[in-house]
């Protein structure tokens, strides 16, 4: 157990405005995560707001910026951060609703039109033979729709029109495994100034992605497909 100082970003339109940082001294156990601490602090201050759901890194709602880096609060152990002071801030580049809660609309506006099916063929358990009724093993796509990558990307920060890493990675998944989707129209969507050509390969998105989607690498995959003409059916010349 160790005592840690939490500096938490507070903002509420019309109420806490301009924003400020509230400081809390907290005794933290080794197993406790940033989300655990926020929930404890909320018992004393019910106006402290944040998003969460699953508590185990699979719903993607608890994304925030901890000590300057985008993380899922529910799987980030406080003591593993190794700092006496832990600074907690909302994701960058999103409209800010209240404290640590951002409005994810800009994410889904870019992400949903790609139309990536959520179920994919599983590449795991290669030796396990699924029974006949099952056919093939399937699993969910890796992207948690947490928006960490958009918060980390320096281009998203200045260009709201940019499709952004998550949507481009979803597009690359459709290209790799169409599952009935129209690959040509996806290529058309990403082969634009504001699509995969706006990226500058800073790879900050892949650096923070909690589920190894590797959006930066996926963008480079899309470029290769477009550059080497594999996208003839769809990509505009």
């Amino acid at each position: 157990m160790a005592e840690v100082t939490f500096k938490i970003y507070r903002y509420k339109p019309g109420a806490i405005d301009p924003p400020r940082y509230d400081t809390f001294r907290v005794d933290v156990e080794a197993h406790e995560t940033v989300l655990d601490i926020l929930e404890r602090l909320r018992l004393d201050d019910p106006t402290l707001t944040y998003r969460h759901s699953c508590h185990h890194g699979s719903c993607g709602t608890c994304g925030m910026v901890v000590n300057g880096k985008e993380v899922l609060a529910c799987v980030t152990r406080v003591l593993e951060l190794g700092t006496d002071t832990v600074v907690v801030e909302p994701l960058h580049h999103f409209p800010l609703v209240s404290d640590l809660v951002v409005d994810m609309t800009p994410f889904f506006e870019k992400y949903e039109p790609v139309g990536m099916p959520y179920i994919r063929e599983s590449e795991y358990i290669p030796e396990g033979q699924p029974s006949e009724e099952v056919g093939t093993y399937v699993r969910f796509e890796s992207c948690l729709e947490c928006g960490l990558c958009l918060s980390a990307c320096p281009v998203v920060g200045t260009d709201p029109e940019y499709l952004g890493p998550a949507a481009l990675a979803a597009a690359a998944r459709v290209v790799q495994e169409p599952r009935g989707q129209d690959v040509a129209s996806v290529f058309q969507m990403v082969d634009t100034e504001q699509g995969c050509w706006r990226c500058h390969a800073a790879m900050e998105c892949s650096e923070v992605c909690p589920n190894d989607v590797d959006p930066g690498g996926m963008i480079m995959f899309l470029r290769r497909e477009l550059l080497t003409g594999k996208a003839h059916s769809g990509g505009k010349r």
Binding site: H93, A201, A202, M203
Partner: protein, 133 residues
């Protein structure tokens, strides 16, 4: 307050801050490569403008040009010239790295490729500097 009167406050829209391109806070290796590429690109554009201006002395005849060159012989300008060479070499080599990456070559090794670019730039700049000084 009457609940009917309550209006959900508008969220605060994010501001676009260009300083973000150059902020050193919490960058990965690729982030540094991007920062340096962008910075050197801008430096080179500014230098090009300055260069065109200095070259205009060429049009005013040998004496005027020589006078301009003499003015630029000052150690500060020589140091800046070395910095310029460093910028050219880094921007060029990292440009090659970016082109390879767009062809999906070595993306998994982009960090190692950055360090190769960085060390090569430093060495070439050193050689150039020794020649120039």
């Amino acid at each position: 307050m009457n609940i009917e009167e309550y209006k959900r406050p508008e969220p605060r829209q994010p501001e676009a801050r260009l300083s973000e391109w150059f902020s050193p806070a919490k960058r990965g290796v690729g982030g540094w490569a991007f920062l340096l590429h962008r910075f050197t690109g801008i430096v080179l554009v500014l230098y090009l403008a300055l260069h065109f201006y200095v070259l205009s002395y060429l049009a005013r005849g040998p004496e005027a040009y020589q006078a301009a060159l003499n003015f630029l012989e000052n150690p500060i300008f020589v140091a800046l010239e070395v910095a310029l060479i460093a910028a050219v070499i880094y921007h060029g080599l990292n440009g090659l790295r970016l082109i390879l990456m767009a062809y999906n070559i070595g993306v998994k090794h982009q960090k190692a490729m950055f360090w190769v670019v960085f060390v090569l730039s430093a060495l070439t700049t050193l050689v150039a500097a020794v020649y120039m000084l």
